[in-house]
């Protein structure tokens, strides 16, 4: 795929793993960038993110013009968008990690701490777990059934079940993927999920929402 892909660099960690995985999936023009102009010019946008919601939010919002560029590309012009881990959680209205922080608000919901329902449930949720499709997945053929690598302590509580494309189980249901129109967010790490993850990125590169 020779399309320009913007991988947003906002100081939120493991960018190179995502960059390498996109290349392994066949992307040819991935630009790691904090430049809103390049985001506006991109045909696809990937928002990674590890660490705390608040710190990621602060990093993204502190780049002059970035939120406006994302809003214009993803909401107005419907450019395909993939959020990964905290990059997915930022799609919510707000995150409740170390205080309350406003998110992008593109997919209604909140980000809450994973409840430790019994002693066998460890937090962080760390390791390979199911990606189980919901009844709504038909609308978004990007996510497939399988096993992926999760690494998180907070989870996306979606307001509208229709936005949830896949679930996993960790002491109760945890949203594994959200999707709406041209926007997809995955709680797991495709860049760390071996063949399953690379295949998902391949589908994203060819996705025509």
């Amino acid at each position: 795929m020779a399309e320009a892909i913007a991988l947003i660099d906002y100081g939120a960690g493991n960018l190179h793993s995502v960059y390498n995985a996109l290349n392994a999936a066949g992307a040819e023009h991935v630009t790691v960038t904090a430049d809103p102009r390049l985001v506006r010019g991109a045909k696809r946008i990937v928002l990674p993110g590890v660490g705390a919601f608040g710190a990621c939010r602060e990093g993204l919002w502190s780049i002059p013009g970035m939120i406006e560029a994302l809003q214009d590309s993803v909401i107005e012009r419907r450019v395909p968008f993939l959020g990964i881990c905290v990059g997915m959680q930022l799609l919510a209205d707000r995150g409740l990690e170390h205080g309350t922080h406003e998110g992008l608000g593109w997919i209604p919901g909140e980000v809450h701490k994973i409840e430790r329902t019994d002693p066998n449930i460890r937090v962080p949720h760390m390791g390979w777990n199911d990606v189980a499709l919901t009844a709504h997945h038909d609308d978004h053929d990007l996510i497939e059934e399988g096993e992926a690598y999760f690494l998180h302590s907070y989870h996306f509580a979606a307001q509208d079940g229709a936005d949830v494309a896949a679930m996993t189980d960790h002491g109760g249901g945890i949203v594994a993927a959200v999707a709406r129109d041209n926007i997809v967010g995955v709680q797991f790490h495709p860049e760390k999920s071996q063949a399953y993850g690379i295949d998902l990125l391949k589908r994203f590169l060819e996705w025509k929402p």
């Binding site: 960690g13 660490g51 002693p119 690598y149």
Partner: protein, 257 residues
């Protein structure tokens, strides 16, 4: 199913070369950590661990390059430990492509380093290594203390208390190694692993002493670990990652494969 029990092969690296590594696969350069990492990626390991045991500062410098080259070709989670003494060390490893950083003696000297790393980069990447030896006499209730310098130097610090403290400070995972068991192939110190796993809410990785597949199963069923780390049994080809996954499944535990 629920989250899978992770099987983690660990490679010891010194001065950029694998010290104790795979010798059963057809590698062009058996000492190259990147090639070995690829072999484990292909074998379906759930995560990989690099432990840097370089004696010199220069030797450690090569680690960043190894991590970077590994992240270019392996799409699996990578934990890197050994000689991490500051937030800057941790950050450099994460930026090079590590997903988690294991802190060992620096957290013995100053436990608050776990909070420093967790606050800036998140608990999910902050692994605390707990290297312990049993100090209670046989027949007495189990008691363990932290040892540094490869298990040679005692600190007088209670291992379970230390582990709980590091988790409270922000460590997102504990790598619990029995220095008594390390290299013996006699199995994990299950009592130690369980004492720590039952006292914390974060995942615990059992380490030190694996000689067979039952040891891996016991680490989970009796040690209450969420992940099992081993070196020799995989490196020398005694068992494959698939064998380990199968043994866990046959014991009724969730595992990939």
């Amino acid at each position: 199913m629920t989250v899978r029990i992770r099987v983690i092969p660990c490679l010891d690296v010194a001065d950029g070369r694998v010290v104790k590594g795979v010798n059963f696969v057809d590698l062009k350069d058996a000492g190259d950590p990147v090639e070995q990492a690829q072999a484990y990626d292909a074998a379906g390991a759930d995560e990989l661990c690099f432990l840097d045991i370089s004696a010199s500062h220069e030797g450690r410098g090569t680690l960043l390059d190894i991590v970077k080259r590994t992240a270019e070709v392996c799409f699996m989670p990578l934990t890197v430990g050994g000689g991490v003494s500051s937030v800057e060390d941790a950050r450099a490893l994460l930026l090079a492509g590590a997903d988690k950083v294991a802190v060992n003696s620096a957290a013995v000297k100053r436990p608050e380093i776990m909070a420093d790393i967790a606050d800036r980069m998140g608990s999910q990447c902050a692994v605390a290594s707990v290297d312990a030896r049993r100090v209670s006499a046989p027949g007495e209730p189990g008691r363990w203390e932290i040892f540094t310098h490869g298990g040679r130097r005692e600190t007088g610090i209670d291992a379970v208390e230390h582990a709980v403290k590091l988790a409270e400070l922000g460590a997102g995972e504990l790598l619990v190694t029995s220095m008594d068991g390390d290299g013996t192939q006699a199995g994990y110190d299950l009592e130690l692993t369980r004492a720590i796993a039952d006292a914390v809410s974060v995942p615990v990785v059992a380490s030190g002493g694996v000689g067979n597949l039952q040891h891996l199963v016991d680490g989970v069923t009796k040690g209450h670990a969420s992940a099992v780390l081993a070196a020799s049994i995989f490196h020398f080809g005694t068992y494959t990652i698939a064998d380990a996954h199968r043994a866990l499944r046959e014991a009724g535990l969730p595992a990939r494969g």
